[in-house]
Amino acid sequence: MGWMNLLPPLSGIWSAFLELLSQDAFWDAFAMTARTFLIGLGLSVGVGIPIGILMGLSQRADKLLSVWVNIFLSAPITAVIPALMPILGIGDATVIATVVLFAIWVVIIDAQAGVTRVSSSLVEMGRVFGCSKAQVIFWIVIPAALPEIVTGVRLAVVRAVKGVIVGQIVIALIGFGGLFSTYLSMFLMERFWALILVVFALAFTIIGFVEFLERRIAFYAKAR
């Protein structure tokens, strides 16, 4: 089959896009994707940041966990998705788990890096002025690590977007992944590309928004 059939004209993709917007199946898939993405990202951030901070503060926690964090940071997590399906079922849980497995490691790594990179003179300043250890951590170390933590969250968003799509595509029955495989098997290339464009546009909107947020606290890093 030639490339021409696979790449329909833009006008066709545009009308397919308008058609998509009127379909319940699309909005169901959209809702499912948004839900699993947000829950998965929330879990990654909510669990990843405390773990990263702990690893930054405690050398033991770091030595115990860093090997695993580094393994999963760059390993092909995609291979794990087939194992999640029989355990968690064909549904939200598997996709959420995929998102977490894609996104959490970079949150941990960056939070840890942020904490270890806090300027030693800020910590000394806290100690000189009589802060307790907890005060040094909550008043100085964590706020000072915020730029790296936010960077970690931004990278996690990129990975979570990939995770939510890869998860659905490997499962191939639910969400956008279900739509993708239906369109492909029925050779509805206009719809396939329309959906690709929608997914890419969503991805860039989300990532652009997070980059905007990150820039808003950029003065932090500048002031160091």
């Binding site: 760059s74 390993a75 092909p76 995609t78 194992a83 029989p86 355990i87 490997v170 495989s181």
Partner: protein, 267 residues
């Protein structure tokens, strides 16, 4: 200087405690901890599809002895290596070229950035229609997922050349070729090499995706087949094998990288 939280110098440790604190020992604790959690989680019996770590280890050994891994990797490794070679050579050439000759920058960069940040894996299933159920599909999937990362890093490496080094070369009347060979490429080496690691990481994702979605052979098939017959211990063993292979490859590259760059430039 010492850890900012601990002011006093640590006392010298007796040898046994020193050993118990060594990097290797901590690595051991780390693995023991995770394997123990896995074993206990499985023993709690929350899912039949979640085998015990020990059962997976047994299955892993059997598959190794029975040649199941050998057969699977005989199918997976050749396309992986071919795809990786194209990824690396193509990625470095593209990245370096757009870094050096800014003409194509406006066109190639947005494409690279899209391929890097967007969930391009959504396109992978479509490859079936172009290349069919074949090794070519695997190679293309690898290149799609790996090459943009290599190219972007090479480009960034070229871009990050120290401006005053460039001015220095100009003031010494170094030719353009001379500047590229003696200043720009050496200073970009580190970033380019780091990009290769990202490329390898992407290549592993590519081969797994292709084998799960398009061409059911090799390690991907070993995973899906064992799932379909509910041999979850073997399924996990297959997953562990590919994760381990990726991790070992990447850490070998990291070691080479550290050796290469520890002596020379510091950054």
């Amino acid at each position: 200087m010492a850890d900012t939280f601990q002011t006093s110098a640590p006392p010298t440790l007796p040898s046994l405690r020193a050993w118990a604190n060594s990097t290797i020992a901590w690595r051991f604790y780390s693995f023991a901890l995770v394997l123990a959690i896995w074993e206990l989680a499985s023993l709690s019996g929350f899912s039949v599809a979640f085998p015990r770590a020990s059962a997976v280890a047994v299955a892993f050994w059997q598959m190794l002895v029975d040649g199941e891994f050998t057969a699977a990797y005989a199918d997976s490794l050749p396309p992986l290596l071919v795809g990786l070679a194209i990824t690396i050579v193509g990625g470095v050439i593209i990245g370096v070229s757009i870094g050096l000759f800014r003409g194509a920058e406006w066109f190639v960069m947005p494409l690279l950035i899209i391929f890097q940040t967007a969930p391009v894996s959504a396109i992978i299933p479509m490859l079936t229609y172009v290349y069919g159920i074949s090794d070519t599909s695997k190679v293309v999937a690898i290149v799609i997922l790996g090459m943009p990362l290599v190219a972007l890093n090479s480009y960034k490496g070229i871009q990050a050349t120290n401006k005053s080094l460039l001015e220095m070369s100009r003031s010494f009347m170094l030719s353009r070729i001379g500047t590229i060979l003696l200043v720009i490429l050496p200073s970009a080496r580190k970033m380019i090499f780091a990009g290769l690691r990202l490329g390898v990481s992407g290549a592993f994702i590519g081969i797994v995706l292709a084998e799960l979605l398009i061409t059911p052979t090799g390690i991907g098939d070993l995973i899906t087949f064992n799932r379909s017959i509910a041999r979850y211990d073997k399924m996990f063993a297959a997953i562990v094998s590919i994760l381990a292979l990726a991790t070992i490859s990447l850490s070998i590259m990291q070691t080479i990288e550290n050796r290469m760059f520890s002596a020379g430039s510091k950054k």
